[in-house]
Symmetry: D2
Subunit: 467 residues, 4 copies
């Protein structure tokens, strides 16, 4: 409300009281003005009130919220249930138009601005985290896996003969399914161990072999992954990008939860500069702490990125956009950087605690600078079903997210068989337990985890002794 | 809260007062119990309070909302912004598991139940509206177009050689893009006019010719559309289903906003019984009055439907599920039937008003029983830019959703050229204005529309006179 | 937000889309501007969104919500619990200043405006309902009884010798306690029956006798009541006002739930014109359908009314003000008039139903034009405990608000004894059941009531038969 | 919801997933059960979700929220405006019954429990803060001043001849008005200075003289104050309590914002043990950080306290009760103790900063252990209008709550004249600025204050230099 344009009578409140109160609003007005005019992520986070105010002003600009309107179309963004209208701030029209997620809707000016502002802020966030050369990015209201599928389908339009995707194996189901759902044939390249170094590394030799072997036009792209469970390390994206450039094939990076790490981001930036990355995709839930359901498509060439947006058939939910919009305003640039720094610290804390645990319990912790998020506690001394039992005990006690991985479990997905599913490799090794320091993990949670781990360990050994 | 299991002291309230108050809760408890045990759409709508209560009980069952938990995984459904947590009732884990939208998540029991209940209620709604033989259905948090793409990609797994989709032309961009995005080649079959009958009909002859001509294994499916802008009528799905059966090719029905019409639904039921429909897809926003972003995939064979769910790579947003869950509880079976009946009545009212307008203004209204939602006002007497001008005048005055269509505008989408885009046919005809009676349209809106139409008409002629 | 003062880039949304959307906001802006500038009740009700927007703009003007502030006082309106802050829209400072409920607070400009606007709208509402000469009114966040106490204490400052209040008996406890709590001695004047007319009437003769008998300066005021349970009628306020004028004593009217009735309001207007009414008090919950806890003090002389406001020691809760503010904006003048008219109609319906019931069940309905809200069903044929039993049966079946009154129950309140408490008179009569048609009663509720009444009646007679 | 009483089909979710999720709810269930069964303040604060859940369960027990009900009374707690219903969680019936704020309402079981639980928790809080002998307490939805008025009116019923209140002067308007509004004559006893000690002390000699002089039955009570602006110290309540006991007159303590200080609370406890305190009153906003509008009446004799509750004429708003209920659950016992400890620390910080400022700017800070909240910065070197100017400069810069007090301003309230209003004494002294360390003050606010104070000081001297 612009109190300056309303003549508030002295009968309501003395003019000098009012003046001071109106003045005090100035800093908020400037924030809002800057957001719309500069279209960039604010330095400091906003208050919830100011965020809601801004959102409400935007929703008013959508035609379904106009005071006097009549809707004679097949889609008028009517909302039947009050609770639903309320939780969506009466946004109903979604984002994008039939043919293009990035196009403005005449009927939904507020939603269109919401979407553009969010995409602009995301781009700035990517750059802030270290991917300075990033040229374009947008939010797509799809899971990361489906978003990768969309990227592949979009690339296919430029490479209509393409059939294969060269994929550095990672045992995460939806990552693999993103290939088969898009109708491509995966060329699975198992990672390898290197002498004297922890973890699994990209098998560059085999990538080169395949690139040499397969007809270029039959290859859709190389697909690499940056964030993964230990002991798999992030792929050698620098070298893969060089190969992509050399062989002139597209390169798609699955950066699922890598945005939260400046280390990973700097690798993406470096790889793109010296080699070729066409598109990289990250999920919003893991990197921005919003509910599951969105991903960010980004790249170093505006047209390639925009082509993905043009592949989405139909307009899409604006719910994920709203979540990200609110979250980015709530955190601000500095808030996100602080979260990211804290995460790095919790990684160190978790590592220290687990090394200590390992030292005292005859097991060993494997960690590598090439995986700055996840680490693996090797349960060398446990046998048979004990590792699985440990995992289940932890879960029952409220520890979620750790996973016990043991070799020997094979799995067939969409006709492709994987040996030792979960371990990322065909060679059998000892069982281990992974733990990740992801965004938002608190030191209090680490303490609870270590405490419960010790309890479970004790109980497990007590049970062993009984037998 | 189970007040029966808590001993409430007389010091808080006299026992006889309390007893009566606790008894009064019984009817609510029964409703909730029935929902969970029968898993079916309630007859009568629920109060907002009871809906929110149920939702809150479910969200408590998701592990991110457990009181004492530690999350050591890469995805722990932390929510950074309070406003976001609040609007999602703290649901964060989405629905489905990596490989299957219909699978329960161990970490997210509440979300899993929410999703299953919603799908069960949707199935009952489809049956209530007349598709009694429907065997399976589920909500997918994607636009209708993208959902069709997903259906095609899913069918492809059974028909790996398939390349073509036989498509009865409808000039709606995302419907067409659903084919090209999935990587298929559309065989475009223009609808035809029939002597003595209003509107455009499916060109069955040409469908038969193509089915004869193309190798069966190269055809992915027939794609028909039931809900569309006049003067195009719904496709002859009965006959197309017979062809699909005869030629043994899948048949996918785009029922975008047809669920709201019992007439259309009864055609789907009939077609499936006598012929073949593999999958039919409808959008949630248009049929259930929720925000844009979801679709319902349904079919008459559980496995075919489930295969679509298995094609979605990654877990998906639960936001659309929550919207539909709340809306269905809020309306109940009877509430939805009432809305549907009212819609039918508004169609009649709109028709009567427009016939009256046409009679008085030398234009003509085209309507057909084969399009129970949309009608076309032919602007026979307007010339050149006047029709477009009329459309723009209406929009400026707050009338949304009507569209003025004039021949002569060609359009190329993904390499395919369409003559007279918007008219669904290559033959040129006079300009017309469409208006639809869709779910939720009020008689008050019709009055506003007719009033504004008259005003615009008058202004338009006044401007003509000046020249 | 003033989109006109922000330069929204074409990159966010095309300028012509934006223009139309911004234009559509005009009607809302005008509504808000008029509210602040004219300070009067809007003709038509506002949408919830617009109400919340206005409230949020006001709360921003309170110093506890200023972005950069430091509070070094003993009272800084900090709010510890988020839920509390949210439900009060962060209003914390209350209304008024130490010495005067109507004074603006420098620290709380928004609250001050909220309070003044509410009082202005209430004055207009009183006039709309027929009390056209009303000069001043304000909301006090106190129950009606306590507000009457405050009025008496305020009048006492002008009449320091006063000891007595002449009170036309009504058997409603807090009404009587308002006198004793204020420290005055009630002169209880029982109402009387009149030949040939229904109900209990004011005993004007005894009022005159007491006015003659007592020293004028010892009398604080006459206290009359307009809204009451049948068979008591509203007091003869016209004649009492004449007596008050003639004898030069103040006259306070307890108009507890009379504001909803134009009939009662017109009597207040007439009485004030021809006689003397100093203050009249009505509760907000019964007349405005807000939660219990507020009252409106009004009168025909600004100073007398203002003196009551000056008697309130300390600043007061703004919660009731906010409720009334929101409710008045939500209803608008026309909304309230509609509710009031509907109430009048439900009175007629209820009467017709009960006459019908009485005719069929050998009892009789007593109603009078001098009580336009409540009526009494005389249970002539029931004996002993049956009436009480009937009342309890009704309550158990979900009928609230009816009360069964039987003579013979005496009660002592603050040392004063009342014979036949509940009947308003010393003479014993038959038992009866009262029912009221108050604001918001629906015809559906009447039907439920009559149905349950018939059931209970039948059960009661079945039980009798058994004995 | 009691998931244990609902048979959740395996079709909704696997039974082992569900079991774990249901188990995880146990700790919440226990919390709720304990609250209702033990009726005491929880040790640890609750989550917002659990608080809202509990509140919603209670509101369901009020008859206006019963699913099938018909209301035929004059007061049925209907709520017209959705926004109002929502913010009150549909509570509408208020608390108490006509004659007694502490009585349960048959129609409003939830509200009754809410009220009783809140009063029980408040009693425990008073004891926790050090008033261990406190026997009874209740929340009254009135400002502190009006609550004192109610206490006086209640005492009057036991001392009908009483006319005078012996009042230790404190220049806070509503405190004084609480006496005159109740209709009593204040005997104003100015505090005195003591050699060698800071601040103003109770003039015990004069109290004794007045108690000797006035007829005992004419004295309603002694009224003392514990929390006040420096340089006035808290009254010598220990000695006043002894006098009250010796002379057999009631003693009412205005403990406005003293509950937050264990030091003040321990004095009340001590005074009550060795002498006589009938009632002590504290405001909820200042001590519990809720919006203005409530007070807590407490005492060491249940009957005396209950008599106050019986004096409130009519039922009262439950809004303040709800605020306090939510806040106490949100903080828990430990949360409140932490806040109280932090406050004590901010007092020390503020003192240190101001001493430092005083040392560097030729002024002096007066503080005393007898005022543990407020301190006074004596502006010895400023002359004429400078102190007032300083106050206004600070306020304009966002510092609220400090007040500049200068002698020489006389004021008449309800006919009583006060010399040097604001200074609490007749003798003129130098101007000073007060600052308080009240509950919730943050160290960040102290820094802002000191920074702004320095800025203003500099500007003020720069202006002086110019002249």
């Amino acid at each position: 409300m612009n109190f300056k344009q309303i003549e508030i009578s002295e009968k309501l409140v003395p003019v000098n009281y009012l003046k001071l109160a109106v003045e005090s609003q100035k800093s908020k007005e400037i924030k809002v003005k800057e957001l719309f005019e500069k279209r960039s992520l604010p330095e400091e986070g906003w208050s919830d009130d100011l965020i809601e105010y801004t959102v409400q002003q935007l929703t008013n600009l959508d035609s379904n919220n106009f005071p006097h309107k009549a809707g004679l179309g097949e889609r008028e963004a009517r909302i039947a249930c009050n609770l639903v209208a309320r939780r969506h701030y009466s946004f109903g029209h979604g984002i994008g138009r039939s043919g293009d997620l990035l196009e403005a809707q005449p009927k939904a000016v507020g939603s269109s601005i919401l979407s553009q502002l969010t995409n602009n802020m995301l781009l700035q966030l990517l750059r802030t985290m270290g991917i300075k050369s990033c040229q374009s990015s947008f939010l797509v209201p799809l899971a990361t896996g489906m978003t990768l599928t969309l990227c592949f389908l979009s690339l296919k339009k430029q490479r209509p003969q393409a059939k294969y995707i060269l994929w550095s194996r990672i045992d995460q189901k939806s990552c693999f399914k993103s290939i088969t759902t898009a109708g491509f044939t995966p060329i699975i390249i198992n990672p390898v161990r290197k002498e004297g170094r922890e973890g699994l590394f990209t098998n560059l030799r085999q990538f080169t072999e395949q690139l040499d072997r397969l007809p270029n036009e039959k290859i859709l792209c190389i697909m690499s992954t940056t964030s993964c469970f230990a002991p798999r390390n992030m792929d050698a994206i620098y070298e893969l990008a060089e190969l992509a450039k050399k062989y002139n094939v597209p390169h798609v990076v699955n950066n699922a939860y890598g945005l939260q790490s400046q280390y990973i981001c700097s690798h993406i930036e470096g790889a793109a500069k010296h080699g070729r990355i066409d598109l990289f995709v990250q999920s919003t839930d893991k990197n921005l702490m919003v509910p599951v359901g969105g991903a960010i498509v980004a790249g170093f060439n505006e047209e390639i990125v925009h082509n993905v947006a043009k592949s989405y058939a139909g307009r899409a939910s604006s719910s994920q956009t709203l979540d990200v919009f609110m979250t980015l305003l709530s955190l601000g640039r500095n808030g996100y950087l602080t979260l990211s720094r804290e995460r790095k610290q919790t990684y160190e804390d978790l590592k220290a605690h687990l090394i200590d645990f390992a030292d005292n319990n005859k097991c060993s912790l494997k960690h590598s600078k090439f995986n700055p998020i996840s680490m693996a506690l090797y349960l060398d001394n446990l046998s048979e079903e004990q590792p699985t039992k440990l995992g289940s005990m932890l879960y029952t006690r409220g520890i979620s997210g750790t996973r016990v991985v043991a070799a020997g479990s094979n799995k067939t997905i969409d006709g492709y068989e994987f040996k030792n599913w979960g371990t990322h490799e065909d060679i059998e090794g000892p069982a281990y337990l992974t733990a990740a320091a992801s965004l938002g993990l608190t030191s209090c949670e680490i303490e609870v985890f270590i405490k419960k781990l010790k309890e479970c360990w004790k109980d497990l050994h007590a049970q062993m002794a009984k037998k």
